[in-house]
């Protein structure tokens, strides 16, 4: 979970006993988590598998927007648009289409290729927006990206030959190395019928891990440092040789590709794409995820994604036993509404009381290595924080001319 750089590791002393013990503990934790993740499809029913898969898709999308908002300080309300691009592009590339009265286009490409092309298409869409994404910053960009939501909805409803319009489109299942990610043909493993959800579960795990590893590589490497500096001190970044506008646009494209992949995953799980789903609320969900989880870090994005995706399902499942929450359709606070209110409030609460989000809280609970990070961690509590307002003993620009 931790996002400590090489420097951080060096500081703790590579050979120290405490360091080794901690590393062992961390490996053990990872191994345990991996075991649990692998075991899940054998024990949980479809409802939870689907919830888990939604969370995985959300995690990929959240990692993407965290690169943009958390690490580079650029707000985007348009994430849902790129999810839609990914989802619909996959369907368009993979589906052979049909002629007739309601002609629907499609290329019928091999599905793995369609996945790759869908992600690239999302990237291209992000690139088309780069003249704005590169020049606007912070909350300004947030309002500008609202346009993508409305434009996206308009296209999804109107470009019927591609999107299927109001009714959306069915999603062709993915076929990889002869394995079809669908309920047929039947497959039974260890006495558990392995349907679409079970099969997708492992694919989802792999994709989340891959997405997380890639993002972490970016963040720890040369681009990540440039992004953080743009967030912390734009002018210094430029003077140090970082082409600021190009980087802003680049991160926007990368973030769009993450959203595209999340969209593909969503489509595969949902098996149908509908326009309404990709509205503004979805974008807000993603911003809520990264704030609740912890801005600027991969682990935070994953935590937040799980929180925001699982909460409504938990409430739905246990609405009978929870006070104040009514069964869906009975007129009281529905689980979905309760969940929205809860995580809306969580966003506010995190900023007010929990700098660093859930990840920061975890760090603090674990003590030791997180202790310092909790104060001034890598996953900063203040993603857009300006340069220290007054680092010098005479902080007003005394020589300002």
């Amino acid at each position: 979970m931790s996002d400590v750089t090489a420097a951080g590791r060096a500081a703790r002393g590579p050979g120290s006993g405490a360091g080794t013990a901690r590393r062992t503990a961390r490996w053990a934790a990872w191994a345990a988590a991996a075991l649990v993740a692998i075991a899940v499809p054998f024990y949980l029913d479809g409802f939870w598998l689907q919830t888990g898969l939604f969370a995985m898709s959300a995690a990929v999308g959240a990692i993407g927007i965290n690169l943009l908002t958390g690490s580079t300080g650029q707000l985007s309300m348009g994430h849902a648009f790129f999810l839609a691009v990914g989802a619909y592009a996959y369907v368009y590339f993979a589906d052979p289409g049909q002629d007739g009265a309601h002609a629907i286009g499609g290329l019928g490409l091999p599905t793995p290729l369609a996945v790759v092309l869908a992600v690239l298409t999302a990237g291209v869409a992000g690139g088309l927006f780069s003249p704005i994404a590169g020049r606007l910053k912070g909350a300004y960009l947030g309002i500008a990206t609202l346009a993508l939501i409305f434009l996206g909805q308009h296209l999804l409803f109107n470009a019927e030959p591609v999107t299927g319009g109001y009714n959306g489109r069915a999603v062709p299942p993915l076929e990889l190395f002869g394995l079809t990610f669908a309920d047929t043909p039947e497959l039974v493993l260890l006495n558990v019928p392995f349907g679409a959800l079970e099969r997708l579960w492992f694919l989802g795990l792999l994709l989340v891990l891959g997405a997380a590893a890639f993002a972490r590589g970016v963040l720890r490497g040369r681009p990540g440092r440039a992004m953080n500096t743009i967030r912390d001190h734009e002018i210094a970044a430029g003077v140090m040789g970082v082409p600021v506008a190009r980087y802003r646009a680049g991160v926007f494209v990368l973030s769009s590709m993450y959203a595209g992949l999340a969209g593909v995953m969503l489509a595969l799980v949902f098996q149908r794409t509908v326009p309404e789903y990709f509205g503004m609320l979805l974008s807000l969900d993603y911003l809520a995820m990264i704030v609740i989880g912890g801005l600027g870090s991969v682990g935070g994005a994953i935590l937040g994604a799980v929180f925001v995706s699982v909460l409504p399902q938990l409430l739905t499942r246990y609405s009978g036993t929870l006070p104040l929450i009514a069964e869906p359709g009975s007129g009281g606070v529905s689980p979905a509404e309760a969940a929205r209110i809860l995580y809306g409030a969580a966003v506010v609460a995190v900023v007010l009381f929990l700098p660093g989000g859930l990840l920061g809280l975890l760090g603090r609970l674990r003590g030791a290595p997180g202790g310092r990070r909790a104060v001034l961690g890598r996953g900063p509590a203040l993603p857009f924080s300006p340069p220290p307002a007054s680092p010098s003993t005479s902080p007003t620009p005394d020589t300002r001319s």
Binding site: L75, H154, L284, L382
Partner: protein
Amino acid sequence: MITFLELLVNGLSMGSVYALIALGFVIIFKATEVVNFAHASLLLAGGYVVARLHPFTGFWLALLIGVAFAGLLAALVEFLIIRRANVGSHSVLAIVTIGVDIVITTELTRQMGTEILSLGDPWGDSVVHIGGVTVAEVRIVALGTAAALITLFLLAFRYTGWGVAMRATAEDAETAALMGIRLGRVSLSAWAVAGALAAVAALFLCVFPTPGLDRGTSFAAIKAFPAAILGGLDSTTGALAGGLIVGVTEALMTGYQNQLAFLGRGIGDVAPFLVMLVILLLRPAGLFGTRETARV
């Protein structure tokens, strides 16, 4: 030509309503540097109170209470949340307002369900004829009210002590504090005024030809965001110009959508955002916005 004039008047009327919303949005930004994404939810709250109260209190009292309620709610958001979020960065506060927006909007839409609530306005669907041009009476009222409120506001902004304090704070908060201006009060009053303006705008978003207040109203309110940013987030003039541009564009694109069929149905709703994108491409700080000069 007649159609064009009708569309233009309707567009200006809607535009003046957007301007009211955008003005509040800009006031909050100027006074506290917060981009308030919860603005649409404040508007919804004001409208909702009017809709629920008017059967009991009559329209005018309900409107008064609704406006006061929205102002109070906005002030409460400032006092309980914005002021306490000591994050040192105003952009984080933008995300906080998103959280606030999620909570308020979710609760209100839950209360409304699928109903379409009437606000009980006295104008109904009566129309007036000026020359060959036919316009709904309420659209004229909207234009007049918005113009009056905006004038009143600009006069207050210019001539009262409150206005001086607001402008001083917007320019340089620290120096304003050095002059003895209480920043807390300035910020509280800015939020309250913005909330109240939004509630008035809510009224005119929900009257003829719109069927009434429903879940979609907050989306209509969101069109004021491009109005604010294309004018320039820190400019009151910009908010007015932006509102009118958005209103007129929307009305014309909707009115001529048959001729614009190749752009798809409902292009009117998207048009304001497209205009915003074009303007931002040409002027990243908006039409009247000031570019900050970097200080190192």
